[in-house]
């Protein structure tokens, strides 16, 4: 896949991508800080390094008819779908004003009005569910497409393989997106996969796979746009491996000793924000000063999110019984 050319896109579009990716970066940095202050508990899986994957993909979707589902590394995907940082930070703080009323936490962000259906904590368990959403679209002859994100760790689960088979026999409008950040928790994917080129994973089900560079938001956007167009036209499933990298550990307790500093540094040099910023600078779409101003504005958004979360109320004790049944 050749690198996408910056000139194809309007300044507004590129600024939008930059703003979303920067929001995710600063939100996650703030979340890490708040975790250190013990404002956030339990598992907390950060998306830093993977911003181009979620933002590039979801920018290609039409959320008035398309649906997004992902696993537990869901902060960035939720923000890319347009969820408000305050509602997410409040959820991390386990407050009643959180997007899941303080019942879900880091792994269980949802906003059904934005067509973002979670936020699932069991590796691979949401892949059949996402396929079921596509099944509904198919049965009702609607025009939507489902983007189903999961990691390299999920691709060996039976749920993935069973889903691809059924998606193909029923011709379901779904794009399976493997965000291969190369480590399933602490395990290099090459150690636990019979193949290291995941584009072949759909071959048994007649689903041709594609691969893209997940550090380049425009390349991701291009490939996903093409796939969504094809799926809408042909109504057959697709599979895309996005090669990406997380800078932080699997979760907050992981010092990531299973990889070298050199490897991390090599990826930082192709940081998705840096890559887009450089392109925009070169093309005259942004100046350093404008970038600094944008960054300052986004940092303030994240500070405001923390303030909102901090001053929000705890859920009432009685709420433990709410929403067990509809």
């Amino acid at each position: 896949m050749e690198t996408a050319q910056v000139r194809q896109y309007s300044k507004e579009f590129l600024s939008g991508l930059m703003e979303k990716m920067l929001l995710i970066r600063r939100f996650e940095e703030k979340a890490a800080q708040m975790y250190g202050l013990q404002k956030i508990g339990g598992f907390c899986h950060l998306y830093i390094g993977q911003e181009a994957s979620g933002v590039g993909s979801i920018s290609a979707a039409d959320l008035s008819r398309d649906f997004i589902l992902t696993a537990y590394r869901d902060h960035g995907i939720a923000l890319a779908c347009g969820m408000k940082p305050g509602h997410l930070m409040a959820e991390l703080f386990a407050k009643a004003s959180g997007c899941s009323k303080g019942k879900g936490g880091s792994m269980h962000f949802f906003d059904s009005s934005l067509h973002f259906l979670g936020g699932n904590g069991i590796v691979g368990a949401h892949i059949p569910v996402a396929t079921g959403v596509a099944f509904k679209i198919h049965l009702k002859k609607e025009s939507g497409v489902v983007l189903c994100f999961f990691g390299d760790g999920a691709i060996h689960q039976g749920s993935f393989h069973e889903s691809l088979n059924m998606a193909q026999i029923w011709k379901l409008p779904i794009l399976y997106i493997c965000e291969n950040n190369q480590y399933g928790m602490g395990t290099d994917f090459r150690r636990v996969s019979a193949v290291t080129d995941f584009t072949v994973m759909g071959n048994s089900y007649g689903i041709k796979g594609k691969q893209t560079n997940g550090m380049d938001v425009l390349e991701v956007y291009n490939v996903v746009s093409g796939e969504i167009d094809r799926i809408r036209r042909e109504s057959t499933p697709g599979f895309l491996e996005i090669r990406t990298y997380r800078y932080k550990g699997h979760s907050m307790s992981d010092p990531a000793k299973y990889r070298t500093r050199d490897e991390l540094e090599a990826y930082r040099e192709q940081d998705p924000l840096l890559l887009l910023k450089t392109k925009m600078l070169n093309d005259g779409h942004i100046t350093e000063e404008q970038f600094e101003a944008l960054d300052a504005r986004i940092k303030k958004l994240c500070d405001d999110a923390v303030k909102f979360a901090d001053k929000s109320d705890e859920p009432a004790l009685q709420s433990i019984y709410d929403d067990v049944f509809a």
Partner: protein, 326 residues
Amino acid sequence: MAVITVREALRQALEEEMDRDENVILMGEEVAEYSGAYKVSVNLLDKFGPERVIDTPISEEGFTGIGIGAAIAGMRPVVEWMTINFSLQAIDQIYNNAAKLLYMSGGQLKVPIVFRGPNGPAEYLASQHSQALQSIFCHCPGLKVMAPSSAYDAKGMLKAAIRDDNPVIFLESELMYSWKGEVPDREYLIPFGEADIKRNGSDVTLISFSKPVKLLLDAAVELAKEGISAEVIDLRTLKPLDEVTIFNSVKKTNRCVIVDEAWPFASVGSHIGYLVSSNCFDFLDAPVELVSSEDVPMPYNHRLELAVQPSIKKIIDTVKRVSYRS
């Protein structure tokens, strides 16, 4: 009133609800062209077509999750597991998605879905195909559980289950499909959480659900010959449980024998034993007793498999013991 089989009662319930609501679909292994492994879905494919009566591959985890995804997107799927034994392949989808999406999402995602199939011992099926698995479903908050014991109940309960906005586990019984009973021509629903007193009595309360209810009624006839008047309660819904009917009966009879064809440890039967002991302690004239299956896998040999399960003799002996008549 017409006299029909349990199988036909279930089929009528499915047909009527599919007529009533176009979002109701039936999916599972062999449900369409084969009319169901136990012939519950006869003629449904012809009437509703392959878009609403859907054969799946043998992928329980996958199609269970797909049903859940279709449900959160607005469908009302009825998912048939060929037998409940195979639901164990899908238990993650049931426990972690069907039962929890509403709660984790702070009330955003409803999961209106029915999972149905034959549960409990049949004959000559050995250990893997002759299990009573109600305990594991009742254990998990967020699931409703029903288990009818007659054609009349089967029809009215399945219709109620399909109209409910929650995931419902609907437990049938292979040996019961050919049982016959009266079913009225008019439409009727049997609401959740309403036990049925199948026989009035004054000396002992017998409690069960599904297939063993017949054993209780037969035992009650024998006991009456010996001057013991047994009240027979059919729980019908296991969750939510009709505690009021149970407690009122035990407070009247002062004795309680529970019959559950599951294993005894951590079972529906043992839980009801706890509830009765705790809530009716001052009214009890004898310890609460549980007649369960033996705590062993089901053997193939017929004499052995019958010895494993509750029987009329075991029930009568137990009733006599708590009546101090043995």
